[in-house]
């Protein structure tokens, strides 16, 4: 009786607070699986964001710090500089990382800070009830773009991977999605490699995960997966932007 699939050890055995079908849950599991596979639970320190994942320090079995909104990369820098031999990661949403935390992520990358960022791009502020994010698509209706995002007024969504790839200190940059099985598997590979890049000391690594927010998108979880495929991926092309060739 072989176990084909089971809960990873690094994921605390509790029910998570996310909405039904929210892909935050999938990404949590992937991160935990990678921690298990790399056998680094005891030497990893994670940093939680402010966003729907605000209390995911409850969900990872490694040591965790909860950071102020947007500041996870700064907090992680503080941690990593104290423990250069440990693995340090941040988990951040698109409001957290791409709005209020823009300076912190850009500079963590520019400094080549040896940390890994798991970046959940769900094109919206989930936690605070569906406001426009820097990654909200043109035309998308949110509570703060009630007439749809208009480029003349609200500008254009930021492509974080493309932007960070311009920084020499960013060693590994990849965009993935978790809207179907194949992509979930790719996502895990990317997350694993990002952690390994950190372990090898190449510099900053980030994996952007296209993710869903059925609640604030106002559609059901299955349709939300389709929305990622049909609407998000065309604007946010998947793939590796940097570091695919690094040996780990």
């Amino acid at each position: 009786m072989a176990v084909v699939f089971d809960r990873p050890h690094a994921l605390v055995d509790v029910s998570m607070h996310y909405c039904p079908g929210c892909t935050h849950g999938i990404v949590h599991r992937l991160v935990a699986e990678v921690i298990d596979e790399l056998n680094i639970e005891g030497t990893t320190i994670g940093v939680s964001p402010v966003g729907c994942a605000y209390n995911n320090y409850l969900y990872f079995n490694c040591d965790m710090q909860q950071a102020a909104h947007g500041r996870a990369p700064a907090v992680a820098t503080g941690v990593k500089r104290v423990h250069p031999d440990k693995v340090v990661f941040t988990y951040q949403g698109d409001g957290d990382l791409a709005a209020i935390g823009t300076a912190e992520i850009v500079h963590a990358a520019a400094r080549g800070e040896k940390i890994t960022t798991v970046f959940i791009n769900n094109a919206i502020y989930g936690m605070t009830s569906g406001q426009m994010a820097p990654t909200t698509l043109v035309g998308q209706v949110t509570t703060t773009s009630p007439y749809g995002r208009k480029p003349e007024i609200q500008g254009y969504p930021i492509r974080v991977c493309e932007m960070l790839s311009t920084l020499t200190g960013a060693a590994f940059v990849e965009r993935v999605s978790v809207h179907d099985i194949k992509n979930i598997r790719n996502a895990k590979k990317a997350i694993k490699k990002a952690f390994q890049v950190q372990q090898k000391g190449y510099g900053f690594s980030i994996v952007e995960v296209l993710s869903t927010c059925p609640t604030n998108w106002g559609i059901n979880p299955v349709d939300a997966m389709k929305w990622v495929q049909d609407k998000m991926i065309p604007y946010y092309p998947l793939g590796n932007f940097k570091g695919a060739d690094l040996e780990v």
Partner: protein, 176 residues
């Protein structure tokens, strides 16, 4: 007269809007009213409740610590609020969803399988209205006509065709 009401249940059961319709109806009758929702970062899927005060006098604090009436639409809500209802007050539970009896003996209790009855009447999501009916009947806090006006004001045009049905459910609740 002053009624301090708590309506509580799961998110998605129309808890907050039921309270709002009630408060609005009170306002239409020129009473002093307040409505206060519970709010939290984890409302989704979690519990929801709101406090409504309808009074002849000025409303003091909108927080209700000693309700004269409680509508409970799930077990955790009954657990949480049962004990603070004023002696002589009323507790109305949706017995389709609440798995237990009310323990208080010093209050009036109605256990109504509202979800079942409402779905028999055509729409399970009107369970809240059914229970409100009972509340209105028991307390006389507002007139059903005011409630109808309140629905008209509060619902978007495209849902107005549902109002007759909702009023029917309300009256069935009143009569239950």
């Amino acid at each position: 007269m002053e009624q301090k009401i708590i309506i509580a249940g799961f998110g998605g059961q129309g808890i907050l809007s039921a309270g709002r319709f009630l408060a609005y109806a009170g306002m239409l009758e020129d009473k002093n009213v307040s409505w206060l929702p519970s709010y939290g970062p984890e409302m989704r899927g979690g519990t929801a409740n709101c406090c409504i005060i309808i009074s002849d006098e000025q409303v003091g604090s909108p927080i209700v610590n000693d309700p004269t009436a409680l509508i409970a639409m799930n077990t955790p809500s009954l657990d949480k609020f049962e004990k603070i209802v004023r002696p002589g007050g009323v507790i109305i539970v949706d017995s389709s969803l609440v798995g237990r009896q009310v323990n208080r003996e010093d209050v009036v209790t109605y256990a109504i399988p509202a979800t079942e009855l409402a779905s028999e009447a055509g729409n399970a999501t009107f369970a809240n209205i059914f229970l409100l009916g009972k509340l209105i009947a028991h307390t006389n806090i507002i007139k059903p006509e005011s409630f109808e006006l309140s629905l008209k004001h509060g619902l978007r045009e495209k849902y107005h065709h549902l109002i007759p049905e909702e009023m029917k459910v309300l009256r069935r609740g009143m009569e239950y």
